[in-house]
């Protein structure tokens, strides 16, 4: 099949089928026609990764990974490099917005059961991306070598000292010395430059796994025929570009008008190993996990809970026993999902506060509920819940909704006593 009438394109494609590949993966690629705007966040995450890599490369040209000059070199970018402030504020706020987008993407997957067969590996690759993002963001936050950089690095790397027996040695090995110091900063810089490309590689696998069975959709039922889908291009390319444009407006408001709103003022004070700041808090996107860590009174168990809270996501496809994907048709799970969302926000608030008084209580209940959700509620509700009847096909549900009724299944269920 000729992808183009252009002779040069044909010549290349005959030898290196990039054009047929793109045509196959974008134009022929069938996508459910009923995706809502929550499905925009996957491509937004891709856009954010691109923005972060591009701005990061330009920052690296100016940055000096040396404890004596790291802080000053970042300030030099902000003050003396042409539009350096722009690149740095995009990168700095970009980290936050990357997490906002990815967290929404993740919760969308949880709500609509996008992790269920045959998309388990797609989901697991996604969790791996989140994990790599956290590592990358943590090491990136250390690079400006402000107070929070230094003390955050100290607190987080010290977690490994909880490992019985070899813990202390591991921490020394991670630091490359007997404290967070120049070797630590150097290796964090090297890894902070490396990991985004590892993420890019996993993203390629993530998209490959996605294109094997195509997108899930709000109804959570499989595509049954051509009437259920549209080609990805131009339908979703245009929808994604529109979404990206709206997203960039919100992002720009922060970059240009509130560039430091999401950061900690302490990080504009150069790192001082002799002076501990009054509060050591991670960036907002790690707060729920920080809360889980601090809610467990035992250090080793706390570290286990911290890692467990992320690793548990890998096995979600097998913890959820429901036969139905979308929470739209799951009257009980739907509510439990929103409780989890509330729990995540509550844990975020706990992480931002000193562990005193009521915050200890909320932290422990929140941590308990987090694990209860995945380990108990997910399997149990899947077994006990009676889902609403599913519509026969995507196109029928879409047409019915268009005709003014609610989605087929929901109306049918409500009619029953």
């Amino acid at each position: 099949m000729a992808v183009s009438r252009n002779k040069l394109v044909q010549w290349i494609d005959h030898r290196l089928p990039v054009f047929s590949y793109l045509d196959h993966e974008l134009h022929e690629y069938p996508t459910p026609k009923n995706l809502n705007y929550w499905w925009n966040f996957g491509s937004l995450a891709g856009a954010m990764l691109t923005i972060m890599i591009v701005t990061g490369i330009f920052l690296a040209m100016q940055y000096d990974p040396n404890t004596g000059d790291a802080f000053q070199s970042v300030e030099r970018v902000m003050r003396e490099v042409n539009y350096g402030w722009l690149i740095r504020y995009i990168h700095m706020n970009g980290a936050s917005f990357f997490f906002i987008v990815v967290y929404i993407h993740l919760f969308r997957g949880l709500y609509y059961g996008s992790y269920k067969a045959p998309r388990e590996l797609l989901w697991m690759l996604g969790v791996l991306i989140v994990l790599l993002m956290m590592a990358t963001a943590f090491m990136g936050y250390v690079l400006p070598w402000g107070q929070m950089s230094f003390w955050g690095a100290t607190v987080i790397t010290s977690l490994f000292s909880a490992i019985p027996g070899v813990g202390k040695d591991i921490v020394t090995w991670l630091w490359g010395g007997f404290a967070v110091s120049n070797p630590t900063l150097n290796r964090f810089y090297a890894l902070h430059y490396l990991l985004p490309f590892v993420i890019l590689g996993v993203v390629v696998l993530h998209v490959l796994a996605l294109h094997q069975h195509g997108s899930n959709n709000p109804l959570g039922i499989d595509r049954k025929g051509p009437q259920d889908s549209v080609p990805f291009h131009p339908y979703y390319t245009y929808k994604d570009m529109f979404g990206l444009s709206v997203f960039l407006i919100v992002f720009s408001i922060f970059v240009f008008y509130f560039p430091n709103a999401l950061g900690d003022p302490q990080n504009y004070i150069p790192a001082n190993p002799m002076q501990t700041p009054p509060e050591i808090v991670p960036e907002w996107y790690l707060l729920p996990f920080y809360a889980i860590l601090r809610s467990i009174p035992n250090k080793l168990l706390g570290v286990c809970a911290l890692f467990g809270s992320i690793f548990i996501l890998f096995v979600v496809p097998w913890l959820d026993t429901s036969k139905v994907r979308s929470a739209y048709f799951r009257p009980v799970y739907k509510w439990v999902f929103w409780l989890l969302v509330i729990d995540a926000f509550a844990l975020g608030a706990v992480g931002a506060h000193r562990p005193e008084g009521i915050w200890i209580v909320i932290g422990r209940v929140g941590t308990f509920y987090y694990f209860l959700h995945f380990l108990v509620l997910m399997p149990l509700i899947g077994w006990l819940e009676r889902p609403l009847p599913l519509p026969p096909s995507i196109s029928e549900a879409v047409l019915k909704k268009r005709a003014g009724g609610a989605v087929a299944g929901a109306t049918a269920a409500r009619a029953k006593p």
């Binding site: 026609k33 009923n34 000053q72 300030e75 902000m78 003050r79 402030w85 722009l86 504020y89 549209v230 131009p234 339908y235 245009y238 929808k239 570009m241 529109f242 444009s245 709206v246 960039l248 407006i249 720009s252 408001i253 970059v255 240009f256 008008y257 560039p259 430091n260 003022p265 302490q266 504009y268 004070i269 009054p278 009257p331 009980v332 509510w335 439990v336 005193e356 008084g357 009521i358 200890i360 209580v361 422990r364 209940v365 308990f368 509920y369 209860l372 108990v376 509620l377 149990l380 509700i381 006990l384 819940e385 009676r386 196109s395 879409v398 047409l399 268009r402």
Partner: protein, 266 residues
């Protein structure tokens, strides 16, 4: 079993188990400290999405920095030529050259011997002490560098204004620590090492502005805000253009998206 009952049972179970985990909260240590009042409600020309710096206020603030603050505080991230031009304080290059020349900075002469020479516009602001240890030895505690001070404090400009105007007699029953210090309404813990740096008429303004404490604090905070974020005006200008462009692009893309989807029943 109906889902509702399952849910109730599960939630009740969760609540009981959660409660079991919760140990009695430790009693919060009674705070002997006075509560910190809300930061003073002052306004500046640089606030808001279209706010710009008042160049006259910046120049007055720079005068206060030069005559008062700079005897103890460094401002290492700034160079004298930052003061020139539209992104600066509005001084001409000749003026900046003259300002710099009044300061002595350390250098090395042809024979490799350390010397002091008059500063050039490309030099960083001359610091009052050669290093932090020297500052701490002379003053008891090294004063913070002021380059980023507005960005580096929660509350920003209002907080620093509060510190400069918040010196009071300690309230009755408040015990000042034996090491000395000064009572300040807004400083965490209320005991600050810095003596009150500004009073009425600490400086004599060249432009006839009355040098009240409030005016001086207002001006020097404006100057420090500029110093923390000298690209603020360029940032806001660029932002307005970028957002206007994005709004237009969003409109066009929305139209395009609707048009592309018009032949699909959805």
């Amino acid at each position: 079993m109906k889902p509702r009952y399952v849910m109730t049972a599960l939630l009740a179970g969760a609540a009981i188990a959660g409660a079991a985990l919760v140990q009695p909260a430790q009693p919060v240590k009674a705070q002997a400290e006075e509560a910190t009042p809300p930061l003073p409600d002052v306004s500046w020309s640089f606030e808001g999405p279209f706010g710009t710096f008042d160049r006259a206020a910046l120049q007055r603030g720079f005068q206060i920095y030069t005559q008062v603050c700079s005897t103890c505080h460094s401002m290492n991230l700034l160079t004298y030529d930052d003061l020139a031009g539209t992104d600066g304080l509005g001084y001409s290059e000749a003026q900046v050259k003259a300002i710099a020349a009044q300061k002595q900075v350390p250098d090395i002469d042809k024979n490799g011997q350390p010397i002091q020479r008059p500063a050039r516009p490309s030099d960083h602001f001359a610091a009052p002490f050669p290093n932090e240890q020297a500052a701490a030895a002379a003053l008891g505690k090294a004063p913070p560098d002021l380059s980023d001070i507005i960005k580096a404090r929660a509350g920003g400009a209002r907080y620093v204004y509060g510190i400069l105007t918040g010196f009071r007699e300690p309230p009755k029953g408040f015990e000042m620590p034996p090491g000395g210090g000064h009572y300040n309404l807004y400083f965490p813990g209320h005991v600050i090492a810095m003596p009150p740096p500004l009073q009425d008429n600490t400086v004599q303004y060249g432009d006839g502005t009355k040098a009240t404490l409030q005016q001086e604090a207002h001006d020097v905070v404006a100057f420090m805000t500029w110093a923390s974020d000298p690209m603020m005006e360029q940032r806001k200008r660029t932002g307005a253009k970028v957002i206007l462009f994005l709004l237009a692009m969003t409109g066009v893309l929305y139209g395009a998206k609707r048009r592309v989807w018009s032949d699909v029943e959805h």
